[in-house]
């Protein structure tokens, strides 16, 4: 691991070194696979680097990665390795002996690898990537999914209202959301949080319990839900360094899971705890997978990317209510088109006393709370 040390260790001035002879896998004898015979020992390497670059060792980050000095041997080794990988990829896709299916897989993977940002795609390109993803899933699992790439409808701006007096804390919405959006069952990822708060104390999120398990509604408590508020001025979008998240024309704040680099800036920028990160590869049992998917919605995610509530884009752009609204047994959740003067959401905004969380931040959430 000694030749990788430059990239991984950030505590630059600490002189602490691993004793030579042990490696990162913890074994003191025998190989862990990464130690080739030709490799030089840690001390020799350190000395060599010190004589070669001296003080420059203390640089970090971008400079260190791109402006690195290496000896001829390391350079040749790295070149050979990358050439071999490249040749392998070419031979798989061009060989006559490999099957048609694996060729097609390789072709799909190649095109998927080099596709652009979904935000910048034309409709044909969107259809192209959706078709590839559907075909890829078919080749890998033998199952057919239906994925769409519907764009925002004109004259639509989605809004949501939540009745605090109606919510009883049954969490049917959470359950429906997990099933609808193919969320990881292993880490029990959930987009919606239902906070159990004490009567008479107002909103105290630090004292609220969002993972209660007793009969509800509990005496002396009230319930309120939070999720992504689809802000009209979303801070998460501002901070994304790769523009993998953006606001669609119908007001939905969405993520291109294939463009996200997993830096979690958006998670830090969101004042409402609306975003979730996949710390592990999401796993959903095959028979529980919701096969009605949207590219920006509930399609299968990867490890290391962000995800969040999309107001069930795969449902809402077809005219249906999000799964949480459909599942709520108390009618506490109201969803609709803010631009339609006859919609129920507009009636709520105009006739009930509504408020939003942290309105002073200027994020303009499209998620209102109200009481009977």
């Amino acid at each position: 691991m000694s030749d990788n040390k430059k990239w991984f260790s950030l505590n630059l001035n600490s002189a602490k070194k691993e004793s030579s002879g042990s490696c990162s896998c913890g074994k003191t004898s025998g190989g862990c696979g990464s130690h080739a015979k030709s490799q030089i020992s840690d001390e020799e390497f350190d000395n060599a680097v010190d004589t070669a670059i001296g003080d420059e060792r203390k640089r970090d980050g971008f400079d260190q990665v791109f402006d690195v000095q290496m000896d001829r041997r390391t350079a040749f080794r790295k070149l050979t390795a990358s050439l071999l990988i490249g040749a392998g990829a070419v031979s798989t896709s061009c060989s006559i002996t490999t099957g048609e299916e694996s060729k097609e897989k390789a072709q799909i993977d190649w095109e998927e690898q080099f596709k652009g940002n979904y935000k910048l795609m034309t409709n044909d390109e969107k259809k192209g990537t959706v078709d590839r993803l559907v075909r890829s899933y078919q080749l890998r699992t033998g199952k057919t999914i239906s994925m769409t790439s519907e764009n925002a409808e004109e004259d639509v701006l989605f809004g949501y209202a939540f009745n605090i007096s109606k919510c009883q804390g049954y969490m049917d919405c959470v359950s429906a959301c997990v099933e609808e959006n193919n969320q990881d069952r292993n880490s029990q990822m959930q987009y919606i949080r239902i906070h159990e708060m004490k009567d008479g104390e107002g909103f105290k999120f630090d004292e609220a319990d969002d993972n209660y398990y007793h009969e509800v509604p509990a005496e002396g408590h009230f319930y309120m839900g939070t999720q992504c508020f689809h802000c009209d001025n979303p801070p998460c979008v501002e901070v994304c360094p790769v523009q993998a998240t953006w606001r669609e024309d119908d007001g939905l704040v969405v993520i291109d899971y294939d463009w996200c680099v997993g830096c979690r800036y958006c998670m830090a920028a969101c004042p409402y705890d609306g975003r979730r990160f996949n710390w592990s590869t999401p796993e959903v049992p095959e028979k529980e997978i919701n096969k009605n998917q949207h590219y920006l919605g509930n399609r299968m995610r990867k490890k290391g990317v962000m995800e969040k509530c999309t107001f069930c884009v795969q449902r809402s752009r077809k005219g249906q209510n999000p799964a949480c609204v459909d599942a709520c047994p108390t009618g506490a959740r109201i969803f609709g088109n803010l631009l339609d003067p006859n919609s129920t959401i507009r009636w709520v905004l105009e006739n009930k006393k509504v408020f939003r969380l942290k309105e002073d931040l200027g994020t303009e959430p499209k998620f209102w709370y109200f009481m009977d």
């Binding site: 004259d155 959470v174 398990y213 249906q320 803010l338 003067p341």
Partner: protein
């Protein structure tokens, strides 16, 4: 001297223009979301999608209350022993006293307001069981039972008409379809019951424990 002065003025003008242009670019067209909604929904052209296909299999009836027109589920077809007069062939007082008639509705106990306010006859007419009866003795159809509820629950009725109370059916696009009162509330025992939540996140519990230990 004049040359110097004009350069001075020119540079100020340039600076002003740059400031003006750059400010204009950053300025949002709307001051607030509410302004934006108001402006953009006038005129509203409607959407190309409709919810009819989600409502196809449902038996719905259209109602108009005040300025609101929407669909609610049909009710009579859902009552297992409708028409009521199949059994209630005689007025109720005669049936109750007869020895040979079967016992019925023994499981219904009115837990709705108190006995001073409500009993069976507040809503049912013993002499005409096929319809409901208003407080003033007018007939109310089973399909429009909300008219019965709205006699006392006026606030809820207003909210329901507007769409703040009650669950919507299928989708957000027109035509609007809403559940009616009795689809969620049992009229004889209208309050919601306590029960266990649908989901429990054991992972969160584990993480919190680990956090406390560290």
């Amino acid at each position: 001297m004049t040359n110097y002065c004009s350069t001075y003025i020119l540079s100020y003008l340039l600076l002003f223009m740059i400031l003006f242009v750059s400010c204009k670019q950053n300025e949002d067209k709307y001051h607030s979301l509410t302004d934006k909604i108001k402006d953009k929904s006038n005129p509203y052209h409607g959407t190309s999608i409709h919810s009819e296909k989600y409502l196809e299999d449902m038996d719905l009836i259209e109602i108009t209350e005040g300025e609101h027109t929407f669909l609610i589920p049909e009710r009579k077809g859902k009552i297992k022993s409708y028409a009521c007069i199949e059994c209630h062939s005689k007025p109720l007082d005669q049936m109750q006293n007869s020895v040979d008639s079967k016992k019925a509705h023994w499981d219904i106990k009115v837990m709705h307001a108190n006995s001073n306010t409500m009993n069976c006859t507040t809503c049912h007419n013993g002499k005409d069981m096929n319809t409901l009866t208003s407080l003033t003795g007018n007939k109310i159809d089973f399909n429009r039972s909300y008219q019965l509820c709205s006699q006392c629950h006026t606030n809820q009725f207003e909210d329901w008409k507007g769409g703040a109370h009650g669950k919507k059916i299928a989708g957000w696009v027109p035509p609007r379809a809403s559940m009616t009162c009795v689809n969620c509330h049992n009229p004889h025992k209208p309050s919601f019951e306590k029960r266990w939540p649908a989901r429990f996140n054991t992972q969160t519990v584990k993480e919190r424990k680990e956090e406390l230990e560290h």
